[in-house]
Structure formats: structure tokens, C-alpha cells
């Protein structure tokens, strides 16, 4: 890469920005869990038990598969962008 680094880390020293990367990974893991629960959980594996409840006239599991999960996805992606803005500032890696 051609971008100049402020300090050249030697191969032996600790990698730079480890804390930032860990925080990022934590955020990603939490979000991926939510993602998996609404998509594979509510809409595939537990769809039958959820269908016992209704939202309006629709069975709940069906509604998750055809509507609900998608709303959650949109919120997740924007939430990630906002959270990462904070993290970038906190760890001083903002552009």
C-alpha cells in the first residue's frame, strides 16, 4: 500500500490498532448474531412454533420470513455504520 504509516511497526512488536480491531470484531459478532436469529432462527428453524402467534391476519413466522427480517437487516447496517463512526473517532483511525 502506498499510504504512509506514522510509525513503522517492526515485525516483532505488537500489531498496531489491536484494540480497535477487537472492538470492531465484537460489534460484528453481536450484529451477526442478531442477523442469524431473525433470518435463520425466526424465519426458518422456528417458523412453525412462531406461526401459532399472529400479527394482524398473518402467522408470525411467515411475517418474519416475508417482511420482518428485512426491516431488521436495514436497521443493522445503518447501526453498524453509526457505531463504527464512534469507534473510528475513539481510536483515532478516522479518515
Amino acid at each position: 500500500m502506498s499510504s504512509p504509516q506514522d510509525e513503522q511497526p517492526s515485525a516483532a512488536s505488537a500489531r498496531p490498532n489491536v484494540a480497535y480491531w477487537r472492538a470492531n470484531l465484537l460489534v460484528i459478532v453481536i450484529m451477526m448474531l442478531i442477523w442469524a436469529v431473525v433470518s435463520f432462527g425466526c424465519s426458518v428453524f422456528f417458523v412453525e412454533p412462531l406461526n401459532a402467534w399472529h400479527i394482524g391476519s398473518l402467522p408470525l413466522g411467515f411475517w418474519f420470513g416475508h417482511q420482518g427480517a428485512m426491516y431488521v437487516f436495514v436497521v443493522l447496517v445503518f447501526a453498524y455504520a453509526l457505531i463504527m463512526d464512534q469507534l473510528d473517532k475513539k481510536y483515532g483511525v478516522k479518515e
Binding site: P9, E48, W63, H66, Y71, V77, D88, E95
Partner: protein, 622 residues
């Protein structure tokens, strides 16, 4: 507003005239933008010179990615399969979460022209680059084939020609757009196309929702209305399972696997990933993914409502319709062709008969066929195997036909056709760009003629586009499946080849050249081979009359693992192979590990540049 009882014949005339008007206007706009943003530099041709605003890039990504499969085919597939349609809905939206969290920001930081660029650089290997470029071509051509079919359907309907001719007309038009502008022209054209296609989808959805549920918001009418109860009642009467019942035509395992394959495929599709190279910086890439998903969700949350309404309209209109008379189709010279055209009338609850006009044109192009087998003068849609007893209806025409079925005004019918074209054209253009850049930029420039002039490079890229169109057109004509299914195959191939190695390239410092190459090769060969073997008789009809294998693993799940699902297995295989081989072979060199560390932090992303050796003649375009 939506009360129109046109005179016989006038209705068809006017919707055709409207379609001509809309299509001409929109094409004029696309051509104007394409002409305004003609390109002379490769960086503009491939990544629009960088610096596209996040919202605009979101809209362009949405148009790029919402194809004829989303616009035309998906609604029909959902209407036909009820709950099981969730694999498309969640597969094609949930993949964006993967893309936004796991790939897009880092790839933007990396800043290259193409996905094979990333692979070649991260895995310090020209072999890896070649494998990736070949995978990109393979995936994209599969995908374009589905698009060509979509374009062909629209043209066939409003020009009243067979679908095959429609595909050829589509090929010519797509070629024109893609060859002219490259990425710069495509980006801004796609922004316009996004608005065209979203309006084209939402207007009929809203009109239908108002008509059937009395709510102007389809997503609300879906929940509050009683349409699904009425559909389920019709289903019970005709012998179909309830619309909301899960796993009626896919087993639970297949639903899960297909959904996963589509998600990982979305995140691994070269033409989607490449869009994130066009924004200003890492932060813009994150937001851009958000905007893209929001714009996509506008259509995707409306699609299941449209599917339910369309299902209701179709069943309630055609089931029990009276056969008024049957005549024979005529060709242009007035000769009888022997094809039977049914003229039907729907019978209202009070016994009034209304002629059904919309089926006539579809019958001429063979996309709807009736056969009054029992000769009682009434068409029955009772379940007969996996079909209707006395009608055959191509799933892909549902969206195009629905406004007519519901008796919406002619201009809405025309808008839908225009939107279908916008969806197919924008995606086809983006894909063709990937194909041409993979071949011209990743293969030709690197290995054949590294000192080619700028003009020559663009010429090569453009020739490649033309070749790709011809191949895609062939598949559009032979039709290896419905549009949505063909596109699902492309996603499966992307999931099995790109997603694992791009993901591991960022998140696992230890993944090395040997692992990535083995992983890609195993993933794509396994997945491609399985799909080919299961579909041999449709993909290569002149070689095989039977599929080579029936879906395997039937012991695990009913009917075996379907060709649509196999991408998920290929993806898992790729992960395993890549990880294992990487651990058995030497670690990547120190500078590559530093590169990975750098990709992980946003600071210092710059305009895309070409990472070549000094021997390469390519100049940076900061």
C-alpha cells in the same frame, strides 16, 4: 382513478402505445447520460474515477443488483411457492448485512479496480488472480443469462414477437449501453434506472393494495387485510396447501441452504463488490451499503405483498372462467398456425360475464396456455401434480401481467414494462462490465500485452463485452430455468468461490496463496459441476437428454439437496479447504500480513490505484 373499462382492443392498443412512449423517453435519458459521461480513461471505465456520493452509489448499487430476477421473476416465484419464497426475500437482502459488515469497508480501503485485483494482491499470486478472474466471468455470465431472458420477455410482450426475438433485441440494446460508457456512464444511468424501477414496482403495488385491502401502504395492507385468508380459502378449494404453510415445495434444510447460498453469494458477487470501489472513503462505503439495502428493501418488502395480491387475482379471475370461443392464431401473413387461442370470460358472483382481454397476447407468445381437457367449457385451476389442471402459466410473467389482471389503467401496465427493462438493463450493464474487466484488465493486460495503450485496452474491454453478450443471449434463449432460478445458480457459484477467500483474506492473516487457490478451485468446480450435472439436459440440450444425476443426499432431506442450495455446501467446502491448506503450507510473507493490518483500519484510504509492478505501464489516477 383505477376504474377503467376500456373498449375491446383499445386497451391493448393503448397500453402498447404507452409502453412505447415510456420506453422511448427513458431510453433517451439513459443514452443522454451515457453520452455525457463517455470515458477515455480506464479508471473511469472501471470505477467511475472514484468519488461517487454514498447515497447515489447506494441507488446505483440497488439498481445494479436488483435485476430482472428481483423485478419480474421473484414475485412470480413467491406467488407460486408462498412461504418458501422467503429464501429469495431474505437471501437477497440478508446478504447485504454480510457485505456491509464483513467486506465492503475493507475492500474500499484496499482500493483496486476489480475483485481479481484484490485476490491477486492479497494472495501475492498471479495464479490466484487468473482463477479469480475466471470465476468472475463464470458467475457473471450465468447471471447475465437470466437478465437476457427478462429483457426478452418484456420485448416479446410489447412487440408481440416470440421470446427468442425479444432476447436478440435485448442483446443489441444492452451491448450499446454497456460498450459506450463503462462504469462512469453506468453509475449515473443506474441512479436514474433505480428511480424508474422502484416507481414501476411501487405504483402497481400501491394500486393493488388500495383495491384489495383499502390501505395505501402495501406492507400494511399485507398485515391488516384479509387477502391471505381469501387466498388460503381458494387454495383449499383447489387442492393446494395453504399459502403461509412453510416447506411445501422445499424441505427445511433446502430452505436454509438456499437462503445461505444467496446471502453469501450476494456478498461475493463481483459486480456488487466493485461498486464499493467507487465511493470516496471507507466511511462512505459503510453508509453506501446502508442506503443500498434501504433502497432494495423498498422493493423487497413490497414484493411479497404484490405476490399475494397477484396470486389472489390470478386464481379468482381464471378459475371457473367460461370459454367463450376458441380460434386459431394467425401469423403475419394471415395463415393459421394451428395454435389455439382461448377467449375467456370471468363470471361474477351475480352471474355477469366479463371478457378477460389480458390473456390474449400472452397466449400468442406461448407464455400462457389453456387446455379445456374435460371439455365442460369452464377452465379449472385445480391442482394437478405440480401444475394447474387446465392452464399453464409462465411464472416469470406474473409481474408484467398483474396490472392487466387487476384491470389497472393502461399507463400502469406500461410503467411496469419500462421498469422491468430498467431492472434488466442496469444489471446486465454492470455484469458485462465485470466480465470485460476480468478478461481485459485481469487477464489480457496482465498476461498478454502489459504495454497496451489506453485506447487498445478499452477496445479489448469492449470486444469482450460483445462476446459475453452473445454467450448470455444463447442461455437466455434456451432457458435453463426460470429467471430467478438461473440467477440463484449464479449466486451459488459466487458463494462457493469468492465469499470465503475474500472474507478470510481480511479476517484471517494466516490464509495464504495455496489455500485460497485450492479453496476457489474446489468450491467452484464442485458447485458448478453439481448444477451442470443436475441440469445437463436443459443447459446443454444437444448433448444430454437426461440429467446426469438426481439431487444427492436424499437421505438427509426430502428430495435431496437442490441445485439452488448446493452453493452453501460449496461455500463450506471452500472454507474448509482454504483453512486446512493454509495451515499446511508456509505463512504469507510479512508485507502481506502488514497489508492485512492496514486494510483493517479506515485511515488513509485513497483513490483507487493500480497496484502493479514497476514493469507495468499503468499510471495511477489519484
Amino acid at each position: 382513478m383505477f376504474e377503467i373499462t376500456p373498449l375491446l382492443g383499445f386497451f391493448e392498443m393503448s397500453s402498447t402505445v404507452w409502453t412505447y412512449i415510456f420506453v422511448t423517453i427513458t431510453f433517451f435519458i439513459y443514452i443522454y447520460i451515457g453520452w455525457q459521461s463517455r470515458v477515455k480513461e480506464t479508471s473511469e471505465f472501471y470505477v467511475a474515477g472514484g468519488g461517487v456520493p454514498a447515497v447515489a452509489n447506494g441507488a446505483a448499487t440497488a439498481a445494479d443488483w436488483m435485476s430482472a430476477a428481483s423485478f419480474l421473476s421473484m414475485t412470480g416465484l413467491i406467488a407460486a411457492s408462498g412461504y418458501d419464497g422467503t429464501v429469495y426475500l431474505l437471501g437477497w437482502t440478508g446478504g447485504y448485512v454480510l457485505l456491509a459488515l464483513l467486506l465492503a469497508p475493507y475492500l474500499r480501503k484496499f482500493g483496486q479496480f476489480t475483485v481479481p485485483d484484490f485476490v491477486g494482491k492479497r494472495y501475492y499470486s498471479e495464479t490466484a488472480r487468473i482463477v479469480a478472474a475466471l470465476c468472475a466471468v463464470f458467475v457473471s455470465i450465468t447471471y447475465v443469462a437470466g437478465q437476457m431472458r427478462g429483457v426478452g420477455l418484456v420485448f416479446s410482450h410489447f412487440l408481440k414477437v416470440p421470446v427468442e426475438y425479444g432476447v436478440v433485441i435485448g442483446m443489441v440494446i444492452v451491448a450499446f449501453f454497456a460498450v459506450l460508457g463503462g462504469m462512469k456512464g453506468i453509475t449515473w444511468t443506474q441512479v436514474v434506472q433505480f428511480f424508474v424501477l422502484i416507481l414501476a414496482f411501487l405504483i402497481p403495488s400501491i394500486a393493488l393494495s388500495k383495491m384489495l385491502t383499502d390501505s395505501y401502504i402495501p406492507q400494511l395492507g399485507f398485515v391488516t387485510g384479509d387477502i391471505h385468508d381469501r387466498v388460503d380459502a381458494l387454495h383449499a378449494e383447489l387442492g393446494f396447501k395453504a399459502y403461509t404453510e412453510p416447506f411445501t415445495n422445499r424441505s427445511q434444510l433446502n430452505v436454509f441452504l438456499t437462503m445461505f447460498a444467496l446471502m453469501a453469494g450476494t456478498a461475493g458477487l463481483p459486480h456488487v463488490i466493485v461498486r464499493f470501489y467507487t465511493v470516496a472513503n471507507v466511511r462512505a462505503a459503510r453508509y453506501s451499503a446502508g442506503w443500498a439495502l434501504l433502497f432494495i428493501a423498498l422493493l423487497y418488502t413490497a414484493a411479497p405483498t404484490m405476490a399475494l395480491f397477484a396470486r389472489y387475482n390470478l386464481l379468482s379471475t381464471l378459475n371457473g372462467a367460461k370459454v367463450v370461443n376458441i380460434d386459431e392464431a394467425e401469423n403475419d401473413d394471415g395463415e393459421k398456425t394451428g395454435q389455439k387461442i382461448y377467449h375467456l370470460a370471468s363470471v361474477g358472483e351475480d352471474g355477469t360475464e366479463k371478457p378477460i382481454h389480458w390473456i390474449n397476447t400472452w397466449q400468442v407468445t406461448h407464455l400462457i396456455e389453456f387446455d379445456d381437457k374435460d371439455g365442460d367449457g369452464v377452465i379449472s385451476l385445480k391442482k394437478d401434480g405440480d401444475k394447474y389442471a387446465e392452464a399453464t402459466i409462465d411464472k416469470d410473467i406474473l409481474v408484467l401481467a398483474t396490472p392487466e389482471v387487476a384491470g389497472l389503467p393502461a399507463w400502469i401496465v406500461a410503467i411496469v414494462a419500462t421498469g422491468g427493462l430498467a431492472a434488466a438493463l442496469s444489471t446486465a450493464a454492470g455484469l458485462l462490465l465485470v466480465i470485460s474487466s476480468s478478461i481485459a484488465h485481469d487477464l489480457y493486460i496482465h498476461f498478454v500485452d502489459p504495454h497496451a495503450s489506453e485506447a487498445k485496452r478499452l477496445t479489448v474491454a469492449r470486444i469482450m463485452i460483445l462476446l459475453a453478450i452473445v454467450v448470455a443471449g444463447y442461455f437466455g434463449i434456451i432457458k435453463p430455468g426460470f429467471i430467478g432460478e438461473v440467477v440463484a445458480f449464479a449466486f451459488g457459484l459466487a458463494a462457493a468461490s469468492f465469499f470465503p477467500i475474500v472474507f478470510l483474506g481480511i479476517f484471517d492473516r494466516r490464509t495464504n496463496r495455496e489455500g485460497a487457490i485450492c479453496g476457489m478451485v474446489v468450491g467452484i468446480l464442485f458447485t458448478g459441476g453439481y448444477i451442470l450435472a443436475c441440469k445437463a439436459n436443459v443447459i446443454l440440450p444437444f448433448l444430454f437428454s437426461e440429467p446426469l444425476i438426481t439431487p444427492m443426499f436424499a437421505g438427509w432431506t426430502e428430495g435431496g439437496i437442490s441445485p439452488e442450495s448446493i452453493g452453501a455446501v460449496g461455500c463450506a467446502l471452500n472454507f474448509i479447504v482454504t483453512l486446512v491448506v493454509s495451515r499446511l503450507t508456509p505463512a504469507p510473507p510479512e508485507e502481506i500480513q502488514q497489508l492485512v493490518d492496514e486494510v483493517r483500519i479506515p485511515r488513509g484510504s485513497h483513490a483507487p490505484e493500480a497496484h502493479f509492478d514497476e514493469s507495468d505501464a499503468e499510471a495511477d489516477n489519484p
